[in-house]
């Protein structure tokens, strides 16, 4: 899910040299295509066209960045969680996200790119992360809504990625998916308790959070199919398996009944069940707002990135101490 909005035009124009696709050897290309067409796996040692490798490095690393940056909006409420049980659940969830980032960085590293260089790309603004994390978590209910809607949307996209053509990415996604459904259930359960047993103020908090997050979550699936030019190649390579619009529709259809059980409404006057189509009709997404945020002008973009850069920069002495110590220990071992 976090990857949908990446299959878009770069805001920064790529350099001329990057636009020219290298000519790949025909026999290797044919063998590669055969594996892809047979729904097989490409592994790190296999030959692959440069465009495939480059696309994967970008997609996997940006997926990893999304997990790490995604720790911040939810992490915002750990210190103020209103019960010890909820504090522990939220801490464990945010920790899982760190773990997912780790699996994904590991998968990307099999392609020969270092963790440090991927982080550098993030910190200098060359690499993206899912734009949903550029919005603020203003109340405790936002945490539950993120679990229900944001993780719910993520699951929808991640399950097909478990079958993607690049082996390490597919295997990382299998591990991620196992843990993710747990997160969605916890978010939903937290909201359910507030709606069914909570005070009027708590119910209002939940409805307010849904009102602020609903449209942002729909936009998470990325621009309409006709505005997503790179999707075709992604689909062929098994990196992207289902269209943006199809996933978005699937999400709405699955989520509205859940909203009804919760007793919340979604802020869409055009939402209506369409018997003929067998799906929900829903209103228009504000793509201008989406693009403004993706391109750096959302409510939290600067703060999210600055926070990650600060953590990295201030952690430098710690990382260096560990390396220095390891080197000293090695010297001592040799001397002994």
């Amino acid at each position: 899910m976090y990857t949908q909005s990446f299959i878009t035009a770069d805001p920064i124009k790529p350099t001329a040299s990057a636009q020219v696709s290298p000519i790949e050897p025909a026999d290797l290309m044919a063998a590669f295509d055969r594996v892809i067409d047979a729904d097989g796996r490409i592994e790190p040692q296999d030959w692959m066209p440069q465009a495939y490798r480059k696309t994967l490095v970008r997609q996997i690393s940006q997926h990893a960045h999304s997990e790490i940056v995604g720790m911040l909006p939810e992490g915002n409420w750990i210190s103020r969680a209103p019960s010890l049980k909820r504090k522990a659940i939220l801490l464990a969830k945010v920790q899982d996200e760190a773990g997912h980032g780790l699996y994904l960085y590991s998968a990307a590293e099999t392609l020969g790119v270092s963790r440090d260089s991927m982080l550098d790309a993030l910190h200098t603004g060359r690499a993206k992360y899912s734009s949903i994390f550029n919005y603020p978590t203003l109340t405790w209910a936002d945490v539950g809504v993120i679990g229900w809607l944001v993780d719910g949307a993520a699951i929808m996209n991640q399950i097909p990625l478990c079958r993607c053509s690049y082996g390490p990415y597919a295997r990382a996604m299998i591990r991620v998916c196992k843990e993710e459904s747990f997160h969605q259930r916890q978010g939903y359960e937290a909201l359910l308790v507030m709606m069914q047993q909570g005070t009027e103020a708590q119910k209002a908090m939940v409805q307010d959070a849904v009102n602020r997050w609903w449209w942002k979550c729909l936009a998470m699936f990325g621009p309409p199919d006709e505005d997503s030019p790179n999707s075709a190649q992604g689909m062929r390579w098994g990196i992207k398996r289902i269209s943006n619009d199809a996933l978005r529709q699937k999400f709405v259809d699955a989520t509205i009944p859940q909203a009804e059980i919760l007793g919340v409404t979604v802020p869409d006057p055009d939402l209506k069940w369409n018997d003929e189509r067998g799906h929900y009709d829903f209103g228009a997404i504000d793509w201008d707002e989406f693009w403004a945020t993706v391109n750096g002008n959302g409510p939290c973009n600067k703060e999210r990135l600055a926070t990650r850069v600060k953590a990295w920069d201030e952690g430098q002495w710690v990382r260096e101490a560990a390396v220095a110590h390891a080197q000293k220990s090695k010297k001592q071992e040799r001397a002994a």
């Binding site: 594996v35 590293e109 020969g112 991927m118 990382r319 390891a326 090695k330």
Partner: protein, 109 residues
Amino acid sequence: MTASNDKKATDAQGAPLAEWPLWEIFVRSKQGLEHKHCGSLHASDAQHALQMARDVYTRRQEGVSIWVIPSNAITASSPDDKGAFFDPANDKIYRHPTFYTIPDEVGHM
């Protein structure tokens, strides 16, 4: 906001202090028969890697056995059916035996 490349510290000889090396992690669960590959992580040395693996890949379950090995110490075979598709010069588990940073000219990630 500083780019993290700006102020790399150096060791006593003035050489830049490196990124933590990459380790592959293998875990045998309490009831398991063999060690399974879980993934990788960065740590400054083997003991550190063992501790990290416990936190990251086993979430501190009891009775598990962990092996860590530097990623570049693993030599891998080629699957028989790949034939010429497999690059015989590349018997490491990663695409390149050493890691490198992507120069800006290569394009944007």
